[in-house]
């Protein structure tokens, strides 16, 4: 058979499948939309102009004045309460370098850390000029506040594995004992491996298309810019897709449950793993990291989430090998497991 035709028709069949369209394309966008509604206030903190009150004769006045993201207010001790109350300043630095604040928050924490850094530098008699505050503090605090962004990385990790639905569909069409169509296809001269390869490629491409849709939505509609290193990020997204499709094929061929039950298994599994990876709140991830860190090392969605975070927010592209290896091992194990079921040519019962 013309292989390309097989790809086209399998692609058409999958692309028009309501279950696939909803779970792979619509559902992630709905989730992203609601996550954005829920967490946007936490993500939209602007650190560019942190307002700091200070007396003009304070010796760190000229140092703070040089820091780009700090806006200096020359005030006297008498004005502090009023300025803080009116929220004209985020904090006041006195002559002993103590902070007076009205409330604690990320801005106040940044000021505190900047002041602490100045204190230490002065104590060490090192030149203040050599300290790059924007890198050490603002970038750091942005990342900290953007721990909420983990939710979005986790969401992307989850939907990258949503090739699982296409995998289930492909498996169902390949096995004579799983569907009527599978029976018919098994009676034709189409070789199973050709159908499988077409199914995997089509599933990967369509799910990547669905992922692209989600990323464009997050980037251009929600205006959350998640990626600074697309190439490395793509490696993990593609590996997630590969794992998802093969997981789907494994779920599809390993049992004779109905397609709806198999879909439910896939949704539950991916949702649970995403939950553990911090999709419902970064605190879950923190708890797991504290009490059962190995879970984060073996949970494939955590692996993808962590690596997307490291690549794009920490700029760390070293030590990605472990994550890649674990994802590939999962894929290989599931592929071998699927093969055990798929190699059956005739069936005991249909």
């Amino acid at each position: 058979m013309n292989i390309i035709r097989n790809y086209i028709y399998q692609g058409k069949n999958l692309f028009r499948d309501g279950t696939f369209l909803f779970w792979a394309m619509v559902y992630p966008i709905i989730l992203a939309f609601f996550f954005n509604l829920a967490f946007s206030s936490m993500m939209n903190v602007n650190f560019d102009d942190i307002q700091v009150g200070i007396e003009e004769n304070n010796y760190i006045f000229p140092i703070l004045e040089e820091i780009e993201f700090i806006n200096i207010h020359k005030i006297t001790q008498d004005q502090v309460d009023e300025k803080l109350f009116n929220e004209e300043i985020d904090a006041f630095v006195d002559s002993d370098l103590h902070l007076t604040v009205k409330k604690s928050g990320i801005r106040q924490t940044i000021i505190k850390e900047v002041v602490e850094q100045i204190k230490q530098t002065v104590k060490l008699n090192r030149p203040i000029d050599g300290t790059e505050f924007s890198v050490n503090y603002v970038a750091g605090k942005n990342q900290e506040s953007n721990s909420v962004i983990i939710i979005f990385y986790s969401l992307i990790a989850m939907v990258s594995t949503y090739g699982v639905f296409a995998g289930i569909e492909t498996a169902s069409l390949m096995q004579a004992n799983l569907s009527n169509l599978g029976l018919r296809i098994n009676a034709t001269p189409l070789k199973k491996q050709n159908f499988l390869i077409a199914g995997v490629i089509v599933s990967l491409l369509l799910n990547l298309l669905a992922n692209t849709g989600l990323l464009l939505f997050i980037n251009y509609v929600l205006k959350i810019h998640l990626f600074t290193n697309i190439a490395y990020s793509l490696i993990f997204i593609i590996l997630g897709n590969l794992l998802g499709v093969i997981l789907g094929i494994f779920i599809g061929v390993s049992n004779k449950k109905s397609p709806n039950v198999k879909t439910a298994i896939a949704i539950s599994l991916t949702l649970f793993l995403s939950f553990l990876s911090g999709m419902m709140g970064p605190w879950i991830k923190a708890i797991i990291e504290k009490y059962a860190p190995f879970l984060n090392r073996i949970n494939p969605i955590s692996i993808i989430t962590n690596n997307l975070y490291r690549i794009n927010l920490l700029g760390n592209t070293k030590s990605l090998g472990e994550g890649i290896a674990v994802l590939l091992i999962y894929s290989m194990v599931l592929l071998i497991g699927s093969y055990v079921f798929l190699r059956r040519k005739s069936y005991d019962s249909i």
């Binding site: 569907s179 029976l183 001269p189």
Partner: protein, 310 residues
């Protein structure tokens, strides 16, 4: 010989689905596999197509052993499964084209075959429809088109008219005859007696996984003792007179069906005139009288002890 099935046994755990089943199909014939639901007809087809493992026996198709990898043999076979088995998300034309493409590589030939199949099953007005938009009868026609589009030498039709309206049923049956006229050998499973009588050159009667009889319709009818049935409704008759009717030559049984009596005769001549003489002798009055030749149901009844009703 197109298909040869010899002593095939297929077990589902304790249940025997095929019990030393035998079947031979000659080129150019329409062979009917007739039997009640669950008698093993579909299992037999699935074993022949090597979709199901069987425990014992031998199956040959086109003179060669059939295996799951017999792609050359599969290329010459068309299957119309019992359940409608098409892609729900492909249109009528796309479905037919997809299945045709599994057999036919040449683009022009494929295009021609697809058009012919659409014409053949009368779905020209529905080519852009998705299967879910089609009625049950039209879906069945699509199911058939997908199985025959590549003009196979051997076609398996597994109860293609189940739950089909009369119009579509006639359309399908006429289509099968046409396929046969065009050179295809057809294996047709059904539990509809009149379909088997109308369509098949030869019939294998199945029950409990066994082939209990095979032959042409005439040969099958000749296997049973009843050669004629006369149905009569008397105005009034006493039991004593009924008992005396057994003395009419060749009468083997008398059944009462409501107000009617069904008098069965074994091979013999002048059965009707003998009955009329009896009626005149006893001065009986009747309001209905007709003669029937035995049906396949009578054959099935006599061979299995149970009826095969539509």
């Amino acid at each position: 010989m197109v298909v040869k099935v010899k002593n095939v046994v297929k077990r589902y755990e304790e249940k025997i689905a095929l019990d030393h089943f035998n079947m031979e199909v000659n080129e150019g014939e329409i062979l009917g596999l007739l039997g009640p639901n669950g008698c093993g007809k579909t299992t037999a087809i699935n074993c022949i197509l090597s979709l199901l493992k069987f425990d014992k026996g031998e199956i040959q198709v086109f003179g060669r052993k059939m295996t799951p990898n017999s792609y050359d043999i599969k290329r010459q076979i068309g299957l119309v499964p019992q359940e409608v088995s098409v892609f729900e998300n492909l249109t009528v034309k796309e479905n037919i084209d997809y299945f045709c493409g599994l057999y036919i590589d040449d683009k022009n030939t494929r295009r021609q075959y697809v058009e012919e199949a659409i014409e053949f099953v009368g779905l020209k007005d529905y080519v852009r429809f998705y299967p879910r938009k089609l009625s049950g009868g039209l879906k069945r026609r699509l199911n058939i088109a997908c199985g025959i589009v590549h003009k196979p030498k051997l076609i398996f039709l597994d109860e293609p008219t189940v739950a089909v309206d009369a119009q579509s049923r006639n359309f399908i049956l006429e289509g099968i005859k046409k396929l046969n006229r065009e050179g295809s050998t057809v294996i047709y499973t059904t539990h509809y007696l009149e379909e088997a009588e109308m369509l098949c050159n030869r019939i294998i009667i199945m029950d409990n996984g066994k082939d209990i009889a095979s032959g042409t319709i005439e040969e099958l009818k000749a296997m049973i003792t009843t050669s004629e049935k006369i149905v009569i409704r008397f105005v009034n008759i006493e039991d004593e007179v009924i008992n005396k009717m057994y003395k009419i030559p060749h009468v083997i049984d008398i059944e009462r069906n409501g107000e009617d009596f069904i008098i069965k005769f074994e091979n013999g001549i002048n059965n009707l005139s003998n009955l009329l003489s009896f009626i005149a002798e006893y001065n009986l009055t009747y309001i209905k009288l007709y003669s029937q030749l035995p049906t396949l149901n009578d054959v099935f009844l006599e061979l299995t002890g149970k009826e095969l009703r539509d």
